[in-house]
Structure formats: structure tokens, C-alpha cells
Amino acid sequence: MHRVELNIPSQPIFERVVRASAAEVGAAFGFSDERVEDLKLAISEAVNNAIDHGNRGEISKLVAVVFEIDGDKLEIRISDQGQGLEQFNPTRHVVDEQNLEQGQLRGFGMYLISELVDDYEVTSSQKGTVLTLRLYRRETQP
């Protein structure tokens, strides 16, 4: 079991650091370029949520990211120091006429995550939220 740990301040520019690390961890794990892109996007969404909704942009609050490679499983845990989930609606959310009309131009993050990883888990308390993403190595990489 190999573990890579990363802590960043709550500023969007540092999400790019996590994303770049994710790309290398994914490649080391043996993912195809396409799955590395999926991984980068899922982690990017999770880290931005931790910064925006968890830590509410308080720069001194940390976002912790742990990558764990365990056999055929890659598990990533993204934790913040927020007050727990604001609300949570992991249902399919896509662009449609209604939300365009209402100026509702956000809310795709959790849906994208749910589509891009094999499974995920949310744990939330007054001390913050932990989002766990899991991806598995497959016989044939798409």
C-alpha cells in the first residue's frame, strides 16, 4: 500500500497543484490518459468544493488530499476544515433551459464526480467533510 499526502491552503490556484499530483499518481497507477483525465476532473471538483463550500475560501484552512494505492484500488480522500455539508444532492444535474433561464449556472460538480469515479462516499460532521473517491484498475482500460 502506497500513500501520498498533500495539504494546500484554500485558494483555487493550489487546486492546480493537487490536480498535477493526481495526474502523476494516476499514471503511476497505470491508468490510460483518458482515465487520468477523469481522475483529474473528479479530484478538481472535490477540491474546489472543499475550498468553496467547506472552508468557504478561508485561505488559512487546509484542504488535505490523501492518495492511497492498494493493489487494484486507488482511493483518494479529500478533507476540509469546514462545518460539514451545506446541502447534498447527488442526482443528475445537467444544463437545461430552465436553469439557464434562472441563471442557475453551477451545481455540476457532484454529478460529474459520481459519473467519473467507480464509487464514492461522503462523511460529514461539524469538523468538516471527507469525500472518498475510489477507482479500480480494470483489465482493459477504456
Binding site: 487546486e15 492546480r16 490536480r19 483518458e34 477523469d38 474546489n48 449556472l105 460529474l112 459519473e115
Partner: protein, 108 residues
């Protein structure tokens, strides 16, 4: 206009070449203000773009909203297979279909 978009205009067409590689939370604000540069036919060129996340998609939706209000046509060009997949996932492709460089030539 910031230098995050390079503008190329002919007739009713404007091509907005996105010059950042990362359409994300960092670049979203600068990109989203550029919708004022739209013309009746607006093409967003993603050739330089290697990453787009939902913060970026939100910025791009400003163009969609504006196009709908003005009755303008909005297209995307040079979208990577990965980003085509993502655009399809969130049904962005319904509101910003991809166009070939070739098909654009007929407007010149």
C-alpha cells in the same frame, strides 16, 4: 479585453481563441466577462485548452445565456475527445455544438 481570449472576426463571425490551458476556477472570472465580445455567430476555440472543470463550465454558460438572449449562434471548435465526453455528460453540447474548422470556412 484581457489576453485570456484572442479574437478573430470576419463578417458576422467571431472566433474566440481561448489562450489558457486551464479553464478552471482560476481562469473562470476572466473568461466569463468575455461574452461581451460575441457576434451573431460565435465560435469558442478550445485548441489550447487541456483542462476544463465545472467552474470553467459555469463561465462558458455565460456565453450560452448571452447567445440565447441575443439569438446568436454559439459553437465550440477543437474540443478534445475527453472534453466532448464531459460536454455531453452535462449536456453542454446541446447548447454549444461543436463545429469543424472546415464548416466554418464557408462563412469567410
Amino acid at each position: 479585453m484581457s489576453d485570456i481570449i484572442r479574437r478573430e472576426e470576419f463578417g458576422e463571425v467571431v472566433i474566440l481563441h481561448i489562450t489558457t490551458t486551464s479553464v478552471d476556477a482560476v481562469s473562470a472570472a476572466a473568461i466569463s466577462t468575455e461574452y461581451t465580445a460575441m457576434r451573431p455567430i460565435t465560435v469558442l476555440d478550445f485548441r489550447e485548452v487541456s483542462f476544463i472543470n465545472s467552474a470553467g463550465i459555469s463561465a462558458l454558460l455565460k456565453f450560452v445565456v448571452s447567445a440565447r438572449k441575443s439569438g446568436y449562434k454559439l459553437f465550440a471548435m477543437h474540443v478534445s475527445p475527453h472534453h466532448q465526453k464531459i460536454f455531453k455528460m452535462v449536456e453542454m453540447s446541446r447548447f454549444m455544438p461543436t463545429i469543424d474548422e472546415r464548416d466554418l470556412a464557408e462563412y469567410r
